[in-house]
Amino acid sequence: MALQRSDVEGIAHLARLAIDEADIPRYADNLSAILDFVEQLRAVDTRQIAPLAHPLEMSQRLRIDEVSEPDQRDHFQQIAPAVESGLYLVPRVIE
């Protein structure tokens, strides 16, 4: 599986990653090599095999839907890049 420049650009966009133009050929090579490597899995007959999502096959523990954590907004926002009046600031989305 040889990824083209456009494939790498498409994947980087889906992942919301800016990558340098100059690095694209190297990513294409590395990612293609990794995908070639995992291709080995195709040779395995897994038709009768149920997928394993949790190594011990335990189901998700449930709890009552009630508030269990105190409000720590101010504490958590101390490390935010930009906040105002308790809101996180990002570039204008609606003109």
Binding site: V8, I11, A12, L14, A15, R16, L17, A18, I19, D23, Y27, N30, L31, A33, I34, L35, F37, V38, E39, Q40, L41, R42, V44, T46, I49, A50, P51, L52, A53, H54, P55, L56, M58, Q60, R61, R63, Q72, H75, F76, Q78, I79, A80, P81, A82, Y88, V90, P91, R92, V93
Partner: protein
């Protein structure tokens, strides 16, 4: 003092031979003097350490001490530490002061353990050589041109160089066991769910597990005792009593059935490493254990399966780093998409970006069944191999890594070759089982690790078997000359 184990320091504190403040000051000075050669710490925390040490001395004076109160350790910089930078080895979190403690950190603190600092690691725990850290590579104390292994390379190097008696680590595909092997120390990856993942920065959530790294099995038992146990805040934490790990260390191992998987001794294993492992197996036989040939026929699938599942989970977990709420934000973003893309593009290093892209691809429309579902099916085959083998034996023994420590730069540009250095450890994470690495000898002056793999929640047996081995060998007592 730096040659003392966790157990030795605890005993000396109890006997009043020195105070926690004295041993803490001694090790802080040693880190300051020697760590520039290794780069094993990202952050040293003398203020926190001395405050905790003084509090520990007061607890001891008041008769309120636990077994490890006042003993210094270090935490891998993946565990959130309230008020202390938690970088995860990444530029993305270079400015991140954690606003809360991980459960592991809180438990260690409650036990009275003193934190000396935060150890270096591969960025977001993605690496097998500690070369992907934003803070630069860690050097192996046995040979400073060599890597210490990864991702818990800083913890392994610091313990091997006697800068700390023990440290925490995390293991997603071998990140405790492989660096333990390459640095000649003892490390344990517990059963999935044994140690809380709360506050441990997530890489691949169905594989990640924290555990102890120390110089002996006894010390791993002591530290695991402080780390393990049910935690309401981790949805995959297992609610099951924690046994007394130290109680069974000296149990007799006569009659123990040790499974030897032929697949772990084939192509790819350095014959010199294989010979060291064979000698260790003979040692177990002399202790009364018997060997049983077992087979793990799907061994070759483990690394490819992992390199679908781990990147898929990582691409999802790392989507939280968006430059909005915490962590790195790019300069002057001109719109929201630019803010996301450049913050992530500039904040993450190239290995992390590679894995996010592989995961994104594997989970994208049209490819999910071919990659992710297929890998989950292969994962079951791998787990079934172990389940079957462990009906024929009490534990499985083999090499931890196929070679001794390689040199810095040697594999850095070839991800697939790098990934294969975890070939014997990765399957154990996929199967969720406990695994351990202990020193078994040297090849060309570089340490070789022996891996033990047990049944679910059978940590006590692994520690027992490792301890008995260490009672009859001195590999774990060897110290790199420069750090003796």
């Amino acid at each position: 003092m730096h040659q003392m184990t966790l157990a030795g320091i605890a005993a000396a504190l109890t006997a009043g031979e020195f105070s926690s403040e004295e041993v803490t000051r001694y090790l802080l000075a040693r880190i300051e003097q020697l760590d520039p050669q290794l780069n094993s710490f990202i952050t040293v925390t003398p203020e926190v350490a001395l405050a905790q040490a003084k509090a520990a001395d007061q607890r001891r004076a008041a008769g309120d001490a636990g077994p490890l109160t006042g003993v210094p350790i270090a935490h891998k910089d993946i565990f959130c530490t309230n008020g202390v930078r938690t970088s995860c080895g990444s530029r993305m979190l270079d400015n991140f002061t954690a606003p809360y403690d991980a459960t592991v950190v809180a438990r260690c603190q409650a036990a009275g353990l003193v934190m000396l600092g935060k150890t270096n690691m591969d960025e977001f725990a993605m690496g097998s050589s500690n070369e992907t850290s934003y803070y630069g590579p860690v050097r192996n104390p046995w040979h400073t041109d060599a890597v210490p292994g990864g991702s818990s390379g800083g913890s392994a190097a610091a313990v091997a160089a006697r800068l700390v008696p023990a440290a925490t680590g995390t293991d997603t595909g071998g990140s405790i066991r492989q660096p333990a092997a390459l640095c000649g120390i003892t490390g344990l990856k517990p059963t999935y769910g044994r140690v809380s993942r709360y506050g441990m920065i997530a890489f691949a959530s169905s594989l990640d597990q924290g555990g102890p790294m120390a110089r002996s099995a006894e010390d791993c038992a002591l530290l695991l005792q402080s780390m393990a146990g049910f935690d309401q805040r981790d949805s995959t934490s297992v609610d099951r009593p924690v046994p007394d790990y130290r109680a069974h260390l000296n149990d007799d191992i006569r009659g123990l059935r040790i499974g030897i998987p032929s697949e772990y001794f084939g192509d790819g294993l350095d014959p010199a490493v294989g010979a060291v492992i064979e000698r260790a197996i003979d040692e177990f036989k002399q202790l009364g254990a018997e060997t049983v040939p077992v087979s793990l026929p799907n061994t070759a699938l483990a690394v490819p399966t992992y390199y679908v599942i781990a990147p898929a989970e990582c691409s999802s977990n790392l989507s939280r780093f968006d430059g909005v709420r915490f962590g790195y934000r790019c300069d002057a973003p001109h719109n929201l998409e630019d803010l996301y893309k450049r913050s992530r593009g500039e904040g993450f290093g190239s290995e992390v970006k590679r894995r996010i892209m592989i995961g994104t691809y594997a989970l994208s429309a049209g490819y999910y069944d071919a990659y992710y579902l297929k890998a989950q099916q292969a994962r079951r085959l791998i787990r079934d191999d172990f389940t079957q083998a462990l009906t024929q034996c009490d534990l499985i023994v083999g090499p931890t890594a196929p070679t001794v420590a390689f040199n810095i730069g040697e594999k850095f540009d070839d991800p697939v070759t790098m990934y294969l250095s975890d070939i014997y450890t990765i399957a154990v994470n996929l199967a969720g089982l406990p695994g351990m690495s202990l020193p078994a000898g040297f090849v060309g002056g570089r340490p070789v690790g022996l891996q033990l793999v047990g049944r679910d929640f059978d940590e006590a047996r692994l520690l027992n078997v490792a301890h008995r081995f260490q009672q009859h060998s001195d590999w774990h007592l060897q110290t790199p000359t420069q750090f003796a």
